[in-house]
Symmetry: C2
Subunit: 606 residues, 2 copies
């Protein structure tokens, strides 16, 4: 079949179940795999803070430093808190599982809903920021940013459908390239600052007048936007089974490294952006402005932009592993359609991948490929799942009293309280800017999860064999629809007679003259079966037949009617257009009718 060949070309040949394998990662490889999402957010977090502050004019931009410090502290709190989770869940502690375990199903589902939304936003935001890194360096591409973003999403969706795994080799190079490039940028920038080389340049920066007052609310909003820097921090604790043994210990070390690198890069960029008095611009990112300022338009500038773009694309790719996996867990527990629970030809959860790619591409189009437009929707879900996950740990330590539980309880309690407060800040300050969508969507998703669960439970109950005493005896009538008498009809009649000894032909009369001729032929070819003739004053084939059928079905609840429809199959598909689609019409009208079975009997023409 052609469709099959096309799918094979695009997605590749099927893989056998036995080919599923697991790769264990060293600490350096694991850092690369699990940190790309978190580290890549430094490419836009500083800019999002400045974008809000600049509303109060250039003079307010100095506040980026204290806000940056607050976010750095928040990172430290969250990292410490997750290091406790790793100890408790060495098999992998995704927020859905941890929360469902400790706080119950409903909080677990809230966490799952928040995460699903978040994975979609991770793809959209990372792609938008990745394209922004590209168009900052090559401004001619700016007008095509939506198309480029959608193209990237399509490419990564395809790669994942083919079964791109979270391979250490694939991730190590871009992640370390970015860490190296950003590190050099920051270090060299600090040197120039220490030696006061760029004093003249600062004076030339444009002055932006204030559009709003500098209120506490605005400062909190800037902080809320900067919280995007924390997205992806939880990835290490989700992926513990992929570490080389001792898994939990290695994961804790890597999470520590991640925290240190993240804080360093984020604070470095925030400090230098302030030092150079950088102001956010529509067509160029802050990182690009900074790199251009420090290195000029040299080869190294383009290298930095390229590395930034690459890590952002990889960050999107991690969501392509996380979203289908969470969907699988949800489907396994009956909260999402079963289709999310099965692996495709290439051993990946194709349905989840397709939905993630499609939704993210749609968001890119809706928001015109702009990172800033998407940011207000972002961190809500992340921090909600942080909070639920930490709160679960608080409950767990209290319930189990494992070694060191008092101290760990404190760490997680601080984590839960802090991230909970951040959820409130983000929701309040960004509500009217788009966060309301997420606040509305999470309960809707939870209601959907529960409705699906109820449906599956209900179906299972109705189909259950517990206490079932077998079906009542069945009566069976077989009808053959006759429009004319030809070889195809005789073939169908013969087939029908193998199904049941007593078969009736049914003919809907449109023209009485034709009926007489047909009845004569039926005497010769009808194999002794009676022919029922139904009259049709309105030339409808369907109506008289349905009335007759209703009459038969009224005979009893265990009376089944099989309708045999002779259908001749022409050689070429287009020839179907040349024949009345009576069979299709009748099948459509009787679809899912109780106690009715519609059977086409094909007769092949050559």
């Amino acid at each position: 079949m052609n469709l099959h060949a096309l799918k094979k070309l695009v997605v590749g040949s099927p893989l056998a179940t036995a080919q599923a394998r697991h790769e264990r990662l060293s600490k350096t490889a694991a850092l690369a795999v699990f940190s790309s999402d978190a580290l890549s957010s430094v490419a836009y977090a500083t800019e999002e803070i400045l974008l809000i502050l600049v509303l109060a004019g250039s003079a307010a931009l100095y506040l980026s430093i204290p806000i940056g410090v607050a976010i750095a502290i928040l990172i430290a709190v969250v990292v410490s808190s997750y290091r406790q989770t790793i100890l408790a869940y060495p098999q992998g502690g995704g927020s859905y599982i941890v929360t469902k375990d400790n706080l119950g199903t409903l909080p677990g589902l809230i966490s799952a809903g928040a995460l699903l939304i978040d994975y979609v936003l991770t793809v959209a935001v990372s792609m938008a920021a990745g394209v922004a890194a590209l168009t900052s360096a090559v401004p001619a591409l700016f007008d095509y940013r939506v198309a480029i973003g959608v193209g990237f999403v399509a490419a990564i969706t395809l790669a994942n459908l083919r079964g791109l795994r979270e391979s250490g080799k694939l991730f190590a190079l871009p992640t370390y390239l970015f860490v190296g490039a950003a590190g050099i940028l920051i270090l060299y920038g600090l040197v120039r600052w220490a030696l006061a080389w760029d004093v003249a340049a600062q004076a030339t920066r444009p002055f932006t007048p204030a559009a709003q007052d500098l209120t506490i609310f605005l400062i909190l909003r800037a902080f809320a936007s900067g919280c995007a820097a924390l997205t992806g921090v939880e990835a290490v604790s989700d992926g513990i089974p992929a570490f080389k043994p001792p898994e939990a210990r290695n994961a804790r070390i890597v999470l520590g490294w991640l925290g240190v690198i993240l804080v360093s890069l984020f604070m470095g960029i925030t400090f230098l952006a302030r030092h150079y008095h950088l102001t956010p611009m529509v067509e160029e990112t802050i990182v690009s402005q900074l790199a251009r300022q420090i290195f000029g338009e040299s080869l190294f500038y383009f290298f930095i932009q390229g590395a930034t773009m690459l890590i952002l694309v990889l960050a999107a790719n991690t969501a392509f592993a996380d979203f289908p996996r969470l969907s699988f867990f949800l489907a396994r527990d009956g909260f999402l359609p079963r289709q999310f629970g099965s692996r495709g030809d290439r051993l990946v959860f194709s349905n989840g991948i397709l939905i993630l790619g499609g939704t993210a591409a749609l968001l890119l189009v809706i928001f015109g490929g702009s990172t800033h437009g998407l940011i207000p929707l972002y961190a809500v879900g992340v921090f909600l799942s942080f909070t639920l996950s930490q709160a679960s740990m608080v409950r767990r330590w209290l319930a189990r009293h494992e070694p060191g539980w008092r101290w760990r309880w404190w760490v997680n309690a601080v984590g839960a309280t802090t991230t909970g407060a951040v959820v409130l800040v983000i929701t309040a300050t960004k509500f009217t800017h788009g966060a309301w969508v997420v606040v509305l969507l999470i309960p809707l998703l939870v209601v959907m999860f529960m409705a699906i669960h109820r449906h599956y439970a209900d179906v299972a109950g109705q189909l259950s064999l517990d206490g079932y005493e077998g079906p009542p005896p069945l009566e069976h009538t077989v009808l053959v629809l006759v429009g004319d008498i030809h070889r195809g009809v005789i073939h169908a009649l013969q087939y029908a007679r193998t199904l049941a000894p007593s078969v009736k032909g049914v003919y809907v009369e449109l023209d009485p003259d034709k009926t007489r001729r047909l009845e004569e032929k039926w005497i010769k070819w009808g194999m002794g079966a009676p022919l029922v003739v139904l009259s049709s004053p309105y030339r409808s084939l369907l109506q008289p037949f349905l009335e007759y059928l209703n009459h038969l079905l009224a005979l009893g609840d265990n009376h089944m009617v099989t309708i045999v429809i002779p259908e001749f199959v022409p050689k070429h598909w287009w020839q179907h257009l040349l024949h009345n689609q009576t069979a299709l019409l009748i099948k459509g009208a009787l679809l899912f009718r109780k106690n009715v079975v519609v059977t086409d009997v094909p007769y092949h023409l050559h």
Copy 2:
């Protein structure tokens, strides 16, 4: 069903076959019904002549008078020629039937193809011209002309689907209003000319410089454009059975009247347009310019524009009777799909009406609602069918020697020769302006007609019972697809056992552990039927099953396999999304497979 209710609301309740009725028309009513198409063309024919002449500059416009005279002579020839056809075909002499009768099938099909194209163009051109009459009077609507035109086509399509008949009452008023309005315009204009009242106004007309040389070719092209005035002249001879008796005599009289009125209106407008030195303008029609010149922007001016618009819309409406009728004849003879041969709920040929409306609307969009753009495609088909129809009559008189055949032979011979020459002129002068489309399309349609005919003949031969000795004996295997064991599967198994004594369950194994549990349940619930377990290394449900099926089918050519698929039917349609669509998948894969019957057995959930 909802769709059914919607259709009823839009199209109306079904009508019984016995409600079909025929209305006989008096001569005045018949003139109104059958002349609207022909008469309405005077609204644009003069303008189309001027539009070509003006290419050679204002100085060339005087040629409209001799060209007009040539066209008037042509009208006289064609009318005389068709008066002979009426005598020979008192049951109605449409070009397809007349040509097929006398010249054979292929010329008949050429004529039919030309006519079908022509009916579509009649709708498009008349609507475009009708909208131009409206926007000339209300220039604010000019920018919406495409939308208005498509809206008119949609409205008239709907009216015809509901069963608007060619009612004398409906047509009489607008046709006579137009004849009256145009008559007063011309008479009063001639009075003003005779009394030389408008000499000053003429001098103010703008002078247009020549863009092309005034060649014979250009003059012939102007003549070809003006031939649009003849479209619709054949309508009377198609509709003879609708006249009161004596039908043929009344029809000949009406056709004579039509010729006289048509020539008068066309020559009157052409003469006055020349007298006032009118020049074609994009935003105002010649008739509107003329009416404005003679009556000023008075109420009568708007009356003329309204009457013009109305008759153009009616002209389009006649094509809605002709196109489906011709399609019906073609379908009856096996040259178009059968679907064109059946009447819909409202006793009209719905398929033909829909295709005509859709294609005409599409043309309006493609040509931006411009009459001028469509004109080069127009008259080719009309004159081709004129020529074939007259040539048929020439052949007929020669063959039959009916009373007066010598004289009639001469009339038709002159008609055929003249219209044949016009076909050549139109094709040659307008070929590169769009006529090529029609020249290409007519043979394509003929090839399609013949391919359809061949297909039907082929099918009829294969299905024929002549020499058929009945079907060979049939062997029958019934398989029940088992995915799990629940009440729905047991219901399907019970059903399958009423079909054949030996039934097999078939299970595709994805997980060996599940197989063992299933086999245990099967012992209890399987009703003694054997269970075939197929292994699936690539997790595909379909592939192993298809291989097994191929194995069974290979047993012999008269071995049929019925596949029973248990399908449970949830209460709400959206719940279908929550279940694997295995049944659909398998039906799709086996669609029209030889010797395979797929049977869904629904199990209803509440």
